[in-house]
């Protein structure tokens, strides 16, 4: 069952990689790929080398390759620290209606939760909350600011 899920993930990753290489012509700035944030400005660390957040494309809740890597690091850290529980906080940018964004934030945080679970973290240790567009980390009104705000942040709950 678990193997099956991992296999499914590998398939998904291959798929995502293919998709990404297909989009290689999209503009790549030093902080964004497509419209997904790839910089480090707002990132905090749960432990050395374990980033606390992953970023999403506009209107999307699909995990990028980089997000998966981050979440695998978080899963490894959670396995080592079995007493720590986490809250996944899902967020959206300001360019969407409030109610839809609440649902989208929840969907994003759950995408991260599902991935942590496939790497063996029990759902009892993970809770999810959506803030929609209510708690941006960057208050600018520009594409880079919005990319930093489309995120799921893993926060220690205890």
């Amino acid at each position: 069952m678990k193997l099956n899920k991992i296999f499914k993930n590998i398939l998904l990753i291959t798929f995502a990689t293919m998709l990404l290489s297909a989009c290689a012509t999209k503009k790549v700035t030093n902080q964004m790929q497509g419209d997904v944030y790839t910089g480090k400005d707002t990132v905090e660390y749960l432990a050395s080398g374990v980033p606390d957040r992953v970023f999403f494309a506009t209107n999307e809740s699909v995990l990028t390759t980089a997000s998966r890597e981050t979440l695998r690091k978080q899963a490894a850290w959670l396995r080592k620290n079995s007493k720590i529980n986490v809250v996944l906080e899902g967020h959206a940018d300001e360019r969407g209606t409030r109610e839809y964004n609440l649902a989208l934030g929840e969907r994003r945080a759950n995408a991260a939760k599902d991935y942590l679970m496939t790497y063996g973290i029990s759902s009892n240790r993970i809770s999810v909350i959506s803030y929609g567009k209510e708690r941006p980390v960057d208050s600018g009104s520009n594409p880079l600011a919005w990319s930093k705000n489309r995120r799921s942040v893993t926060v220690k709950a205890n």
């Binding site: 209107n59 809740s61 300001e94 360019r95 969407g96 209606t97 409030r98 109610e99 839809y100 609440l102 649902a103 989208l104 929840e106 969907r107 945080a109 759950n110 995408a111 939760k113 599902d114 999810v128 909350i129 959506s130 803030y131 209510e134 708690r135 941006p136 980390v137 960057d138 208050s139 600018g140 009104s141 520009n142 600011a145």
Partner: protein, 449 residues
């Protein structure tokens, strides 16, 4: 069903208007190209009453103040052009008895409002008349009594009666707006529930700002409100009685509930419940607490709104891949997509008249407030801006109130959130002034019905 909670005792006396034909009429389906010139004479107050009101209300001339409320309401509708009172030739007391119509037509007034305010048995008694200047006839006369503190409402009720007499449709002036008051930096906004009269007066704050609150909506049948609160960091739909301040969680859901609205009979709340990355639409009966699941789809289903007969629900879903508007029967069957234009569509809300659905649209980086017929045809965009959303209908279905945000620089400067209204013609757009930034407005039904 006692809606006249504010002790308004409307004594519809009197002088019932003689039925009249061929008198002035205002067509509200057209733009404000030719607003009707109307004179609102200051209401007459005899000196003894004037003194009493001065002591009670700290207003020098309450008759003038009430007339100002009426004037500003009429102007904001975009259908009337209230004339400057410096030009008035006749004194208020004499005009109220019997206007000299030549004097009023000289200043181009087509309609005239006169009246008298009295202090009687510790109450405020007002009597007013609406005159057709050109025909030289009285169109309406009415009197009512209320507590003096309600003097602004007196102005709103007069406006409603005049509006109805001249347009043939109910007014929307004796109403309130509940909204979210906003303060502080974008990254840590403090939000409070606030309520005010439709014209921005009498603002009261209903929460302290300790927790995030969003999307308050009025019960169309009374003065209850449903909204989303992050109390104890658990986003849940709440029910609030604004008279008593008592609030309670709606239902017992193991996760976020949001996007609440009342059914048209006020007996149910319809909302979204999010679980495991999927949001579906549910209703809860407020009497027997029975919860029903209305949609069952792996996509996001949210922003539900009932048709006024309660038979249908419009809602927002991304089941096609992107946010679009759908309509279904109130039991969740017969789901049909109705938005097919370019762009994304959100926040559908059914008109109280039943004929239109208002929405927010995002297309090429711009946000629009628009309306379409309930089958999706006849889409009309009323206003375009950098960011705006969440229209709410006036109870007569002629005006929408919504909120608009401005762009901010990288430091967050320049950001504002304000309430705006626009009528269905799209010509009459107005800022609804609030002392703080504001969002998520919801329009009440008429208070004095």
């Amino acid at each position: 069903m006692n809606k006249t909670k504010f002790y308004i005792i409307i004594i519809l006396l009197i002088l019932i208007p003689k039925t009249s034909f061929g008198l002035i009429e205002v067509d509200i389906t057209r733009g404000n190209l030719n607003p009707l010139p109307i004179a609102v004479s200051p209401l007459f107050v005899e000196s003894k009453s004037k003194k009493e009101f001065q002591n009670l209300l700290k207003k020098k001339n309450i008759g003038e103040e009430i007339a100002k409320v009426v004037e500003s309401n009429l102007k904001s509708s975009g259908l009337f052009n209230p004339l400057k009172k410096e030009a008035f030739l006749q004194k208020p007391d004499i005009a109220h008895l019997k206007p000299r119509f030549e004097d009023w037509s000289l200043i181009k007034a087509q309609a005239l409002i006169t009246g008298e305010v009295k202090y009687e048995n510790q109450k405020l008694r007002v009597e007013f008349r609406l005159w057709d200047v050109l025909a030289g006839k009285e169109m309406m006369a009415l009197a009512f009594t209320t507590v003096p503190d309600n003097w602004r409402r007196v102005g709103h009720i007069i406006t409603d009666k005049v509006y109805q007499r001249l347009t043939g449709e109910k007014g929307y002036f004796d109403t309130r707006i509940i909204y979210v008051s906003e303060k502080g930096p974008k990254t840590n906004r403090i939000k409070k529930l606030a309520i005010m009269d439709q014209d921005g007066y009498n603002i009261k704050y209903l929460t302290l700002g300790n927790e995030l609150v969003l999307t308050p909506r009025f019960n169309p049948t009374n003065q209850m409100v449903t909204y989303l609160s992050y109390f104890k960091n658990l986003p849940r739909v709440y029910l609030l009685d604004i008279e008593t301040g008592v609030q309670e969680v709606v239902g017992d859901f193991p996760g976020m509930t949001f996007a609440p609205r009342f059914s048209p009979d006020g007996k149910k709340i319809i909302m979204s419940f999010a679980k495991d990355g999927n949001s579906d639409i549910y209703t809860m009966d407020l009497e027997n607490r029975i919860v029903e699941k209305i949609t069952n789809h792996p996509s996001i289903d949210t922003s539900p709104s009932f048709s006024p007969d309660g038979k249908y629900i419009c809602f927002n879903s991304d089941r096609s891949g992107y946010q679009q508007i759908y309509v279904m029967k109130s039991d969740g069957t017969n789901v049909k997509r109705i938005s097919f234009g370019r762009g994304l569509y959100g926040t559908p809300v059914w008109s109280p008249r039943g004929d239109l659905i208002a929405f927010t649209k995002l297309h090429k980086g711009k946000f629009y407030i628009g309306v379409m017929r309930v089958d999706g045809s006849g889409e009309r965009l009323l206003t375009e801006n950098y960011y705006q959303e969440a229209p709410s209908w006036s109870p007569n279905g002629r005006v929408l109130i919504f909120y608009r945000e401005t762009k901010s620089d990288p430091e967050g400067k320049g950001f504002t959130a304000k309430l705006w209204s626009i009528d269905l013609t799209g010509y009459n757009e107005r800022l609804v002034d609030t002392e703080t930034d504001a969002s998520d407005p919801s329009w009440s039904s008429l208070l004095s019905e």
